[in-house]
C-alpha cells in the first residue's frame, strides 16, 4: 500500500467499518479500506479502535483486511478542469470512471478529480520579487470560453516571488510559481486543495443588494432571491422542484452554477447534461455547461458519499466566489442529504431525537446555509463574489412541519413553497403565492426602482393584495356559489385568474416565455393591475361584470407573455385594454379617470 499508517478491519456493518491498529487517528481523516482500497472517512475515535464511514459498497469486505490512514482530511481538488465536469460525491469525475469501469459504477475505482494530462494556457500576473499574500491572484487560465479561472495563492502560503513560469501551457501538476516564505521555498501549481467541511475564509461579508434574475416571474417579481442569499424550495413529489431548479440553473444571470444532484434520479442528470450542452449563453453562443459544475450522487449511489456531496459542492462554489464570481449553488435535495446524516447516525448508534434524526441535524443545516453570502475576497486585486444557495426540500407526505423543512426555514431568507394543488392543475412553477415568502424583497426594491421602474414596488404590493383578496373570495364562492357573488367580487376572481394564467404561470420549455426580462415582468404586472383597478371603478359604478368579462383582450392578456414580439406586444396590448375600458366607460356614460 502507500506510505500511510496501516491497521486492520475489525468489524463490518454496511458502510460502517470499525478498524484498529493505527495510532493517533483523527476525526475526519481519510482512510482507504480493504484490499480494494475503498475510500472512507473517520467518524469516531476511541482508545483502541476507530470507526470509518465508507463511501463505497462494502459487500465482500472481511475483518482482517488492511486499512490505511492517510493523515489528510476529505478535501476538494480545486483548479482548472472543474467546469463542464460531472463528479460524484467524493469528486471522482464520472466520465473518467466510465472509461475505467464501463456504464456501471464499480467500486474501488480511483481517478483524479482534475485531469492530469490536460494542458492549460497560463498567463502569469505576478512579477518576480513581488510580495504575495493569501488569496492574491498570481495568474489566469482561460478554463472555458465562458470563464477565466483566476489562480489564487493558497490561504496557508505567503512570501516573495522567487520564480514565475513564462506564459505557456502547463498541466495542473507543473509548478508555475515559486514563493520564498520564511526561508523555505513553496511551489505553486494550477491546483490547490481545501477540506470540504470547512468554510473558505474571506475578507468580510457585504450587504445583499442585487437580485439574482431568474427570468421566472413569480420568483423575480414576488419572491426574489438576492445574490448571496439562501432560499428553500420545499414541495411534495411531482410539484416541480427539479424542473424549477433546472430552469434557474440554465437561465439565471449567475456567472457560475454548481448543481448538486444529491440522492435524486439518474435520468435527471442525463437530461441536465443534454440541456446544458445544447443551451447557449446569449452573449457568447457557448454552451452553458462551460460555466457549470455538476455533482451527481444519485439515489442508488452510496448513501455515505451523498452526505459528502453537499460539502463538495459548496466548497467548489466558494472557490469560484473567491475568484470574484457570482455563483449559484443548487442542492437537490437537501432532504436526501439529511437522510444520509440520519442513516450514518443510526448505524453509529446515536440517540435519535425527531423522526430518527440526530440532535445535530439543525446545526448541520445551519452551517451549510451559513456558507451562502456576498463577500469581499481575500487578497488582491479586490474582488467581490457571492454564493447563492437554493436548496430543495422533499418533505415526507408534503408535510412542511417535518424536521428538515422546519430547521431549514430557520436558516434561509426565503421560501418558494411548492403546492400540490397547483401542480395537479399543471400550474407551474407551482409556487404558492400565499405561503411563500422572501425577506430579500424589501432590500431589492431599490434595485427594481432604479433599474426597472420607480413604481414597480407599488405594483408588486397591489398584485399580492389582489391574490390574497381572490383567495378570500374563492372561499366564499365555495359556500354560496359564484353566481351569488356581488359583481366586484366576481371581478376580483376574473382579474386574479388573468394574473395567475398570464403572469404567474410560466411553463415554456422554449421560445419567448422561457426567460422573462425584468422590464417585461413590470409591464405585464402593470397591464393586469391597471386593468383590474380601472375595471373595478367601472364595476363599482354599475358596469356589469359580464361586459368586462366579454372583452376579447381578456384572452390576449393570458397569452401575451408568449408573444414573440416580447415587450412591444405587452405595451401595445396595454394601450388596447385601456382603450377598451374607456369605450365601456363611455357606453355607460362614465367619464375617463373615474372621478365623475
Amino acid at each position: 500500500m502507500g506510505e500511510g499508517r496501516r491497521g486492520v478491519v475489525a468489524k463490518v456493518s454496511g458502510p460502517i467499518v470499525v478498524a484498529k491498529g493505527v495510532e493517533g487517528v483523527e476525526l475526519g481523516e481519510v482512510v482507504y479500506v480493504g484490499e480494494e482500497r475503498l475510500l472512507g472517512e473517520v467518524v469516531r475515535v476511541s482508545a483502541e479502535s476507530f470507526t470509518i464511514q465508507v463511501y463505497e459498497d462494502t459487500e465482500g469486505l472481511r475483518p482482517g483486511e488492511p486499512v490505511e490512514a492517510t493523515g489528510r482530511l476529505l478535501t476538494a481538488e480545486l483548479g482548472p478542469g472543474l467546469l463542464a465536469a460531472v463528479f460524484d460525491g467524493i469528486q471522482r469525475p464520472l466520465s473518467e470512471v466510465a472509461k475505467v469501469s464501463g456504464p456501471f459504477v464499480r467500486r474501488g475505482v480511483r481517478v483524479n478529480a482534475l485531469p492530469r494530462n490536460a494542458r492549460w494556457h497560463f498567463k502569469p500576473l505576478a512579477r518576480k520579487g513581488a510580495k504575495l499574500s493569501p488569496g492574491d491572484v498570481f495568474g489566469v487560465v482561460q478554463e472555458t470560453p465562458l470563464v477565466e479561472h483566476r489562480l489564487m495563492v493558497p490561504f496557508d502560503v505567503s512570501g516573495r516571488v522567487r520564480e514565475v513560469a513564462p506564459e505557456g501551457d502547463y498541466t495542473v501538476e507543473d509548478p508555475v510559481l515559486t514563493l520564498e516564505s520564511g526561508g523555505r521555498l513553496v511551489e505553486l501549481t494550477l491546483k490547490q486543495e481545501w477540506p470540504v467541511r470547512q468554510p473558505r475564509p474571506h475578507a468580510g461579508a457585504l450587504p445583499l443588494t442585487e437580485p439574482l434574475i431568474t427570468g421566472q416571474r413569480v420568483i423575480d417579481a414576488f419572491f426574489p432571491v438576492a445574490k448571496g442569499g439562501a432560499v428553500a424550495i420545499p414541495g411534495g413529489f411531482g410539484t416541480g422542484k427539479t424542473v424549477t431548479l433546472h430552469k434557474i440553473a440554465m437561465h439565471s444571470d449567475s456567472r457560475i452554477v454548481v448543481y448538486v444532484g444529491c440522492g435524486e434520479r439518474g435520468n435527471e442528470i442525463a437530461e441536465m447534461l443534454e440541456e446544458f450542452s445544447k443551451l447557449t449563453d446569449p452573449a457568447t453562443g457557448r454552451p452553458i455547461l462551460e460555466r457549470s459544475v455538476i455533482i451527481a450522487n444519485t439515489s442508488n449511489m452510496p448513501v455515505s458519499a451523498r452526505e459528502a456531496s453537499i460539502y463538495m459542492g459548496i466548497t467548489i462554489a466558494e472557490y469560484y466566489r473567491d475568484q470574484g464570481y457570482d455563483v449559484t449553488l443548487i442542492a437537490d435535495s437537501t432532504s436526501r442529504w439529511a437522510e444520509a446524516i440520519r442513516e450514518a447516525a443510526s448505524r453509529l448508534g446515536e440517540i435519535p431525537v425527531e423522526e430518527g434524526y440526530p440532535a445535530y441535524l439543525a446545526d448541520s443545516i445551519a452551517r451549510f446555509y451559513e456558507r451562502a453570502g456576498r463577500v469581499r475576497a481575500l487578497g488582491s486585486p479586490e474582488r467581490v463574489g457571492s454564493v447563492t444557495i437554493l436548496g430543495a426540500v422533499s418533505p415526507p407526505g408534503g408535510d412542511f412541519s417535518e424536521p428538515v423543512t422546519v430547521y431549514t426555514l430557520r436558516f434561509v431568507g426565503g421560501m418558494w413553497a411548492l403546492d400540490t394543488e397547483l401542480a395537479y392543475r399543471r400550474h407551474f412553477p407551482a409556487i404558492n403565492w400565499i405561503r411563500s415568502f422572501s425577506q430579500y424583497a424589501d432590500t431589492l426594491e431599490g434595485w427594481w426602482s432604479k433599474n426597472v421602474s420607480p413604481d414597480f414596488p407599488q405594483y408588486r404590493r397591489r398584485a399580492l393584495r389582489l391574490l390574497a383578496l381572490a383567495s378570500e373570495v374563492e372561499s366564499i364562492a365555495s359556500v354560496v356559489g359564484e353566481s351569488a357573488l356581488p359583481d366586484e367580487q366576481r371581478l376580483v376572481l376574473l382579474a386574479s385568474e388573468i394574473l395567475k394564467e398570464g403572469f404567474l404561470r410560466q411553463t415554456a420549455m422554449r421560445g419567448e416565455d422561457v426567460f422573462c426580462k425584468p422590464e417585461k415582468q413590470y409591464w405585464l404586472l402593470k397591464l393586469m393591475i391597471d386593468f383590474f383597478e380601472r375595471a373595478y371603478e367601472l364595476v363599482k359604478r354599475r358596469v356589469p361584470v359580464e361586459e368586462i368579462a366579454r372583452i376579447p383582450e381578456i384572452y390576449e392578456m393570458q397569452r401575451v407573455k408568449e408573444d414573440e414580439r416580447g415587450l412591444e406586444a405587452v405595451k401595445e396590448l396595454y394601450g388596447r385594454v385601456m382603450g377598451r375600458l374607456e369605450e365601456l366607460a363611455g357606453k355607460y356614460g362614465l367619464r375617463a379617470g373615474g372621478s365623475a
Partner: protein, 470 residues
C-alpha cells in the same frame, strides 16, 4: 441427533464447517468461531433435522458473524452446522432464463432443471453511471388513452401504478404488457415479472395473461408467494432486475419489468428491520427505505451505446388509500411519475379508473410532440388537465351549492368532466387505441368548451385539429 447432523455435514459439505450458533434471535443467527466472514457472504445452514437453509452475513467481526437466515426459521435451533461459501448472493444469467420461472431464491419452480450456463452476477447490481445514461425519449404506445394521452410512458422509464386493494391494477398492468409497442417499430417487449408476496390467484392471473399473449418464451417470472419466506420478498425484485438488466443491456432487448406488490416488499423490509433491532422511522419503516427502494427503481433506464432498454412498471397498493403513506410517498420521490387509480372512478364503473390529476409522467414531455406522437399532443394534454381540474372543482362545488348556482361557465366545465370520463378515460380491457385516436377523442371532449377557453392551445393548432375546423 447430533450424529445425524454430522453425517449429513460430511455428505454435503467439504472444507471447514462450524458447529453451533451462539444465539438465534428471530431470523438472525449469531455465530462465533475462528473465521472472518465477508460482509454479505452467503452461508449454508444445516439444522439438526438435516434441512438446509441459506443465510447472508449482515455484520461481521473478528471471530463472529451475524447471519440473516433466508427462508423459514421455524424448527431452527442453535444446533446447526454452518458453512461459509466465500461468495455473495449471485444468479446465473444467460439466454436460458427466457421462458423460465423461479422463486425468490432463484430456484426453478417450473419443474425444469436449474440454469447451468452463463455468467454469475450479484443481485444487488451496480448503479448506472449517470453520464452513461441515455435520456429516454421513445414513446411507448400502450393503447390506453389515459396513459398515452396524459401520462405518456417512454422506454426506460420507471412509472409505478399506485392503487388500492380491490382495484383493477393487475388488469391495467396486464393490458399494458399486452399492448405496449414503440411506434414505427412494431417490436414487442420482453416481460420480466416479479411477484412479491402475491396471493396464488393473482400470480395465476398474470401467468394466464401472458400465456394468452403467446409470449411465454419472451418472459421470465420470479415469484415469491404470500406463503413464501419474507426475506425472499427482498430478493425477488433484485433477481428479476438482474435478469432484466442482462436481457436489456447484454442482449439488447427491450424489457418491460412488472413488479407487484411493492407494498409487500416494503412491509418485508420493515419486518426484517424490526428483527434486526434498527431505529424505526415513520410508521416503523426503516430510515433507509428511500435509499433501498432507489437501488431497485434506479435500475431502469437506457445506456448510451447499448441497444436495449429497461422499463419498470411497479405496482403498489397504498395502505388505507393514503397517498401520503411512506410507501407511495417515498416511491413517488424516486420514480418518474405515478399512475394513481381511484376508488371513486372504479365505483362509477370506469375502467381504467385512472385519476389523472394527481398522476404524472415526468418523462412525457420528451416523448411526445411533432415527430414523436403528434404536434398537438403537449397542448391538448395540458388543456385536458386544466379543464378537467376545473370540471372536478365544479362538481365538488355543485354538491354544496347545487348545480343551478354554478355560473354558466362552471356548468360547461362540469359537462366536460363527465364527457372526459365517459368518452376519453374509459375503454375496454381489450380495446387498443392508437395515439391518434386518443388525441381525436380528446379534441371531441374539448370541443364541449367554447374556443376562448382553450387558452393553453395555440391558435394555429386549434385551427388545424379542432373538430369545428376539420
Amino acid at each position: 441427533m447430533s450424529d445425524r447432523l454430522l453425517e449429513k455435514v460430511a455428505e454435503l459439505y467439504s472444507g471447514k464447517v462450524y458447529r453451533g450458533a451462539k444465539e438465534l434471535r428471530g431470523s438472525l443467527l449469531v455465530v462465533e468461531g475462528p473465521f472472518s466472514a465477508a460482509y454479505g457472504e452467503v452461508v449454508r445452514i444445516l439444522d439438526a433435522d438435516g434441512r438446509e437453509r441459506v443465510g447472508r452475513v449482515l455484520e461481521t467481526g473478528i471471530g463472529y458473524a451475524l447471519v440473516e437466515v433466508l427462508g423459514e426459521v421455524e424448527g431452527l435451533s442453535t444446533d446447526v452446522a454452518i458453512k461459509f461459501t466465500g461468495s455473495t448472493f449471485k444468479v446465473r444469467v444467460s439466454e436460458d432464463v427466457l421462458g423460465r420461472m423461479f422463486n425468490g431464491r432463484f430456484e426453478p419452480i417450473d419443474g425444469m432443471p436449474p440454469i447451468v450456463r452463463g455468467e454469475l452476477r450479484g443481485i444487488e447490481g451496480a448503479p448506472i453511471n449517470p453520464v452513461a445514461r441515455e435520456y429516454p425519449r421513445d414513446f411507448v404506445q400502450t393503447g390506453v388513452s389515459a396513459i398515452d394521452g396524459m401520462l405518456s410512458l417512454v422506454r426506460g422509464q420507471k412509472l409505478p401504478i399506485f392503487s388500492v386493494s380491490g382495484l383493477p391494477h393487475n388488469r391495467l398492468a396486464a393490458q399494458i404488457a399486452r399492448q405496449a409497442t414503440v411506434r414505427g417499430e412494431g417490436e414487442s417487449f420482453a416481460v420480466v415479472f416479479a411477484g412479491i408476496g402475491l396471493r396464488r390467484e393473482e400470480a395465476e392471473f398474470f401467468i394466464e395473461q401472458f400465456r394468452e399473449l403467446g409470449a411465454l418464451d419472451r418472459m421470465v417470472v420470479v415469484l415469491n408467494l404470500a406463503e413464501d419466506p419474507v426475506v425472499e420478498r427482498l430478493m425477488a425484485p433484485r433477481i428479476a432486475l438482474t435478469i432484466a438488466e442482462y436481457l436489456a443491456f447484454d442482449l439488447g432487448m427491450h424489457v418491460l419489468t412488472i413488479m407487484t406488490d411493492m407494498t409487500n416488499y416494503c412491509e418485508a423490509l420493515r419486518e426484517i428491520s424490526a428483527a434486526r433491532g434498527e431505529v424505526p422511522g415513520r410508521l416503523g419503516y426503516p430510515g433507509y427505505m428511500y435509499s433501498d427502494l432507489a437501488t431497485i427503481y434506479e435500475r431502469a433506464g437506457m445506456i448510451k451505446g447499448r441497444r436495449g432498454s429497461l422499463t419498470l412498471l411497479p405496482i403498489l397498493t397504498m395502505p388505507g388509500g393514503d397517498l401520503r403513506h411512506p410507501i407511495p410517498d417515498l416511491t413517488g420521490y424516486i420514480t418518474e411519475g405515478q399512475v394513481i387509480l381511484s376508488q371513486e372512478l372504479h365505483a362509477r364503473g370506469i375502467y381504467p379508473p385512472v385519476n389523472v390529476l394527481p398522476s404524472l409522467s415526468r418523462l412525457m414531455k420528451s416523448g411526445i410532440g411533432p415527430g414523436r406522437t403528434r404536434e398537438d399532443h403537449p397542448y391538448v394534454a395540458d388543456q385536458l388537465y386544466d379543464a378537467y381540474s376545473r370540471g372536478v372543482r365544479a362538481r365538488d362545488l355543485a354538491r354544496i351549492v347545487g348545480e343551478m348556482n354554478l355560473s354558466e361557465r362552471m356548468r360547461l366545465y362540469l359537462k366536460f368532466a363527465d364527457a372526459f370520463e365517459s368518452e376519453f378515460l374509459s375503454q375496454g380491457f381489450y380495446e387498443n387505441r392508437s395515439v391518434e385516436e386518443t388525441l381525436d377523442r380528446a379534441w371531441k371532449v374539448l370541443s364541449i368548451l367554447p374556443e376562448e377557453e382553450l387558452v393553453r392551445i395555440p391558435q394555429r393548432i386549434i385551427e388545424k385539429y379542432h373538430p369545428k375546423y376539420r
